[in-house]
């Protein structure tokens, strides 16, 4: 029964979202607001449960100064960060600058972690893979594939390295070879973006098909229920 009710609610919401095919309407907006509100409410509940509750309970239960300090510092920084929410025109807004220390800590640490992780986990492996893509010992197809990967990487970087034209009637400041190289790099980038778009389209169609499949299942159940 619960599953059937879930199917019915799900089917109704699906139809409300599909109503956007007729244009922006109240049903679509209701479905959209329900999705965003449910997600936000669930996020707040999760944060309160797994962040505030755990940290506050832990801080209260801390035994000794080191443990209390370990819980107190993040809480204080978090409390100062809340001051950034006051509008700057009011009195409390003047003390909002105190939260800049917490914000600076977050940005600084996050940048350090992201940069170091990107260098070790992304840039170096990608450069390595690009260099290893051209493998002669694995046959012609692998060589072609590796050459395409290497050429696409180099031309893509070359395109972003050069300055685009400011005006079509402006005198060309590049040699014809440079212009053709840029166009090749732009073609590789277009292919990559097209591939990314196809993945997004595939995800959308997957969701559509799965929703329709659920609607079909609901319909079959209703038919079976009606047919007995």
């Amino acid at each position: 029964m619960t599953e059937t009710l879930g199917l019915i609610v799900g089917a109704v919401l699906t139809l409300m979202v599909f109503s956007y095919l007729l244009g922006d309407n109240v049903l679509y907006r209701w479905a959209l607001a329900l999705l965003v509100g449910a997600a936000a409410g669930y996020a707040v509940g999760v944060a309160a449960r797994y962040v505030l509750n755990d940290w506050i309970v832990g801080a209260l239960a801390a035994q000794g100064a080191p443990d209390s300090l370990a819980y107190a510092v993040p809480l204080v920084l978090g409390a100062l960060l809340l001051l950034k929410g006051f509008p700057p025109t009011r009195f409390l807004g003047r003390i909002a600058v105190i939260g800049n220390s917490s914000l600076g800590y977050l940005v600084g640490v996050g940048a350090a972690v992201a940069v170091s992780g990107a260098l070790v986990g992304t840039l170096i492996p990608q450069v390595t893979v690009t260099g290893e893509a051209l493998r002669i010992d694995e046959g012609g197809l692998a060589i072609a594939q590796g050459a395409v990967v290497l050429l696409g990487t180099v031309l893509g970087l070359y395109y972003f390295h050069t300055r685009p034209h400011t005006h079509r009637d402006a005198p060309p400041s590049k040699t014809p070879v440079q212009q053709k190289t840029e166009r090749l790099g732009m073609a590789f980038i277009a292919i990559a973006l097209g591939t990314a778009f196809s993945g997004a389209l595939t995800s959308a169609l997957t969701a559509l098909v799965l929703r329709l499949w659920q609607l079909v299942e609901l319909a079959e159940r209703l038919i079976s229920l009606v047919a007995g």
């Binding site: 797994y50 972690v113 492996p125 990608q126 893979v129 995800s203 997957t206 098909v209 499949w213 609607l215």
Partner: protein, 911 residues
């Protein structure tokens, strides 16, 4: 100037040329010069100028001037055709009257002489003077105006002059002209006049008639004794006597005894030789004194002596003439005072009216200034163009030791001072008093010369020349075409550079101002050589071994005739030969006139010269502009020409209504949904549209399955759920088979997420996966920082595998990066990672997959179906996958239709 005067007709071919051209444009012949270029500064002056408008240098040579004057006198004896001759000049070598007259300037030649006046009026000069009381008419007018002047006797004047001279020259060096004058009046001073005159009234008259500057001197000199015999004779005076003894002996007209001693050839620069000849000078002085003593009663000898003396003063000739008349009158007065001749009031004499109107006081100053400035700018000796004032002055003083010191002698006003004191001077003569220091300098001086010339203190006080001369350095004459001369002229005081101002009264004398004026000859004759100033480039062209006589000593010293080398002469352009510049111009043969009255006649019209034009300077009329630029220019032109009142077109894009697009969207959506629903119902279950097993197309699925198969019971598996609610349906199809596999391996599962909403989704997925054990979940706040902290915690350290299920590529990258970074530092090595991605994040994670940093992956619903197929749990998912494939085909069809429709619209719009 009319229009014809602006053109010059070529004497060779007859073509007209512009006035500024020096050579004919047609034949290249040298045109008559219409402009005179200053040899000093290069300024182009009109032909009427004798002096440069810029630097005041003389533009004409003396020889040119002489020839011009002689020609003018030959053609028009009594007319002054020259303009702008500031001061008269005379040749030093002429002795006859004709030649002397030729040397005079035209405006002076225009003045009738005594004989001419006598012939014209029938009254001799002597009679005129006698009738006028010995004064010219312009002085007689002054006498008439002043009734008391007729009562003034010469003895009174002489007495005053004597007192003044005695006071001034006591113990001082007395110039010769004063020495010669004092004896002539001394008897009158010592002996009372037979005609009673009241001394008091005479004194008052004298002080009243004399100018202020003379009156002051008279007051200062009152009561002093004078003894000329004890005075030493200056060197310059002895030099004069030695060089020109005829000046004291001649009894002819004063003009005959005027000797131009300014010529350097006649000068003796050795001062020592002058002192050796002092005895002769003394003898001459004594002779003069005796003659003046004997003729104290206005004898003719006295008048001649006085005449000769005063004629040698530094005065122009016209002024000398007037002074001569004045002296005669003074002699007559003296004679009358002694007895015979009456001294009555002067009657106006018609003959005397032929004199020009006496200049005013200011004009007289200007005259003196011009004369002195001219003396500076001229050559001191070589050109013999010194003004009469200088000539007469030098005639008295004798040749100076050096050319520069020639004019460092007694100033002009010194010679007339006594004369001024003898009789009441008119205002214009009073204006000839010494100019203030710094205004005029008659010549260039040297310290040595000034120091050697014995000048009395009173002369130093009243003479600005002497004062300034002591500070001057030796300089060469200005009008010398030599670089050294210009360098020397730059050392002269600033006042010397001031252009000479021609007095107005002198301008009035220029009767024929605009008449034909001679031009400066183009070439330099051998007869009148000038000091050639060879530029360095010309000197470089000199043949080796041939010396160039352009030494500075020639310029600073006396001038010598220029000796231009032959090779320099050869460099000059030959006027008979066509100019080189004209040779560079090609001539086009003029064809015959095709029509008109000149038909068939070639060469009637002058041919045009071909001028070379650089090829780069050609106008690029055929240059092409881009079409876009032309279109923009046309658009701008249309907009500018269109009045503002007219509504201007605005480019508006035709926008389809929202309803039409909605219909299209609805139609496409309805078609898509309808087709998919129909597929679900029309395709029977168990029927596969795709004949290829999904696992064969999914590369990472076997690796993922193999990795999960290696898990042993009791190990901990970290499952990171980074799933947005929008991708929950798709990610659920991926996560459920994986969780079932993990559950089958009996491992501990820890679900964590950096997204709050993923925690609840994880719980739902665990339920759908059929977990029978408790699965702990955890929220990791702080994104990458939370991931890093979690991986460093004890729960991650003991985990056996990390399975990341992410719908977005960023969070997937965070997990992989932090795993590689932190786990490597701990020495444990990175956790084996298996991933399940949405179709959206798949393309972005491909590099990690190619880098083999991931042990198996599942991307999208298709890989999920393949994983199910691999696990033997495909179910109805195969049918859903077939419908998904159909949906792809349908959407692809829509895209193609939309592209074709867009192209069709674009082509339609372009038409």
């Amino acid at each position: 100037m009319n229009g014809d005067s602006a053109m010059i007709r070529c004497p060779s071919c007859g073509s007209l040329n512009k006035e500024s051209r020096r050579k004919c444009d047609n034949c290249g012949a040298i045109l008559p010069q219409t402009e005179i270029r200053c040899p000093k500064c290069g300024t182009v002056n009109p032909v009427g100028n004798l002096f440069c408008d810029h630097c005041n240098a003389r533009l004409m040579q003396q020889e040119d001037l002489n020839s011009l004057a002689s020609r003018s006198s030959t053609e028009e004896p009594n007319s002054s055709s020259l303009k702008g001759i500031s001061l008269p000049t005379r040749s030093p070598t002429t002795e006859d009257d004709d030649q002397e007259r030729e040397d005079l300037p035209a405006w002076l030649r225009g003045l009738p002489d005594e004989e001419q006046r006598a012939e014209e009026t029938g009254v001799s000069e002597q009679e005129v003077l006698e009738n006028a009381g010995g004064y010219p008419d312009w002085l007689a007018d002054l006498i008439d105006e002043d009734a008391e002047f007729g009562d003034v006797d010469v003895p009174v004047e002489v007495e005053v002059d004597n007192d003044r001279a005695a006071s001034l020259f006591e113990g001082e060096t007395m110039p010769e002209w004063l020495r010669a004058e004092v004896p002539s009046v001394e008897p009158l001073a010592t002996e009372p006049s037979t005609e009673e005159t009241e001394p008091a009234s005479d004194q008052s008259l004298a002080s009243k008639a004399l100018p202020d500057w003379l009156s002051s001197l008279t007051d200062e000199a009152a009561g002093d004794e004078f003894d000329e015999r004890e005075l030493p004779i200056p060197d310059w005076l002895s030099e004069q006597e030695l060089d020109h003894p005829e000046a004291a002996q001649s009894s002819s007209t004063p003009s005959e005894r005027l000797v131009d001693t300014a010529r350097p050839e006649e000068q003796d620069p050795a001062l020592t030789a002058e002192r050796d000849e002092m005895e002769e000078h003394d003898a001459l002085t004594e002779e003069i004194e005796e003659r003046t003593k004997n003729g104290a009663t206005a004898s003719s000898a006295t008048r001649e002596t006085a005449f000769s003396i005063f004629s040698e003063t530094d005065l122009p000739e016209w002024l000398s003439d007037a002074r001569a008349l004045d002296l005669e009158d003074a002699g007559a007065s003296v004679g009358e005072a002694s007895g015979p001749e009456p001294h009555g009031a002067a009657e106006p004499i018609p003959q005397a009216q032929e004199f020009q109107e006496p200049p005013s006081e200011g004009e007289a100053d200007e005259t003196a200034d011009a004369a002195e400035e001219e003396a500076v700018t001229e050559e001191a000796a070589a050109t013999a163009e010194v003004a009469d004032s200088e000539v007469t002055n030098e005639a008295v003083q004798g040749p100076s030791p050096s050319p520069s010191a020639t004019t460092a002698q007694t100033p002009p006003w010194e010679g007339e001072r006594d004369d001024t004191e003898e009789a009441e001077l008119p205002d214009w003569l009073a204006g000839l008093e010494p100019a203030p220091p710094g205004e005029t300098v008659s010549a260039v001086f040297t310290k040595e010369t000034v120091s050697e010339v014995s000048v009395p203190d009173w002369l130093r006080d009243v003479s600005p020349i002497v004062e300034e001369a002591s500070d001057l350095t030796p300089t060469a004459p200005v009008f010398v075409e030599d670089a050294d001369d210009e360098r020397s002229s730059s050392d002269t005081p600033p006042s010397l550079d001031e252009p000479a101002q021609e007095p107005d009264w002198l301008k009035d004398l220029d009767l024929l101002a605009d008449e034909a004026v001679p031009t400066r000859p183009e070439t330099v004759d051998d007869e009148a050589p000038v000091k050639a100033d060879l530029p360095p480039w010309l000197q470089a062209l000199a043949p080796s071994g041939q010396a160039l006589s352009t030494g500075p000593e020639d310029a600073a010293g006396e001038l010598v005739p220029a000796d231009i080398p032959d090779w320099v002469r050869d460099l000059r352009a030959d006027p008979n030969e066509p100019d080189k510049a004209s040779l560079t111009r090609e001539r086009i043969a003029t064809p015959a006139e095709p029509e008109g009255p000149l038909e068939g006649l070639p060469g009637v019209l002058p041919s045009l010269s071909v001028v070379d034009v650089p090829s780069e300077a050609r106008l690029s009329a055929d240059s092409e502009l881009p079409e876009s630029v032309i279109a923009q220019a046309q658009l701008w032109q249309q907009l500018l020409e269109q009045p503002r009142s007219v509504e201007r077109p605005v480019l508006q894009e035709r926008v389809r209504s929202e309803g039409s697009w909605g219909i299209i969207r609805l139609l496409a959506g309805v078609i898509l949904i309808a087709v998919l629903l129909a597929a679900f119902w029309m395709i029977p279950s168990g029927t596969r549209l795709s004949q290829v097993p999904p696992v064969q197309t999914a590369v990472g699925v076997p690796a993922l399955a193999a990795g999960l198969d290696q898990l042993t019971p009791g190990e901990r598996v970290l499952v990171a759920l980074e799933i947005n609610p929008a991708y929950a349906e798709e990610m659920a199809q991926i996560a459920i088979p994986l969780l079932r596999h993990i559950q089958a391996q009996e491992v501990e599962t820890l679900i964590v997420s950096t997204l709050p909403e993923s925690a609840g989704l994880g719980a739902m997925l665990v339920d759908q996966a059929g977990y029978s054990v408790t699965v702990s979940g955890r929220y990791l706040p702080g994104n990458a920082n939370g991931i890093a902290e979690f991986l460093q915690g004890p729960e991650a350290q003991t985990a056996a595998r990390l399975i990341v299920l992410a719908s977005q590529p960023e969070r997937m990258r965070w997990w992989i990066e932090q795993n590689l970074l932190l786990r490597s530092h701990n020495g444990n090595g990175p956790l084996p990672v298996s991933v399940g991605l949405s179709a959206t994040a798949g393309p972005f994670i491909r590099p990690y997959l190619e880098a083999r940093r991931v042990d198996g992956w599942v991307i999208g619903f298709a890989d999920a179906v393949a994983y199910r197929d691999l696990r033997g749990d495909i179910g109805v998912h195969g049918r859903v996958l077939d419908i998904l494939m159909l949906a792809h085909w349908l959407v692809a069809s829509f895209l193609v239709i939309g592209v074709l429709y867009g192209l069709a619209l674009q082509r339609k719009g372009s038409r």
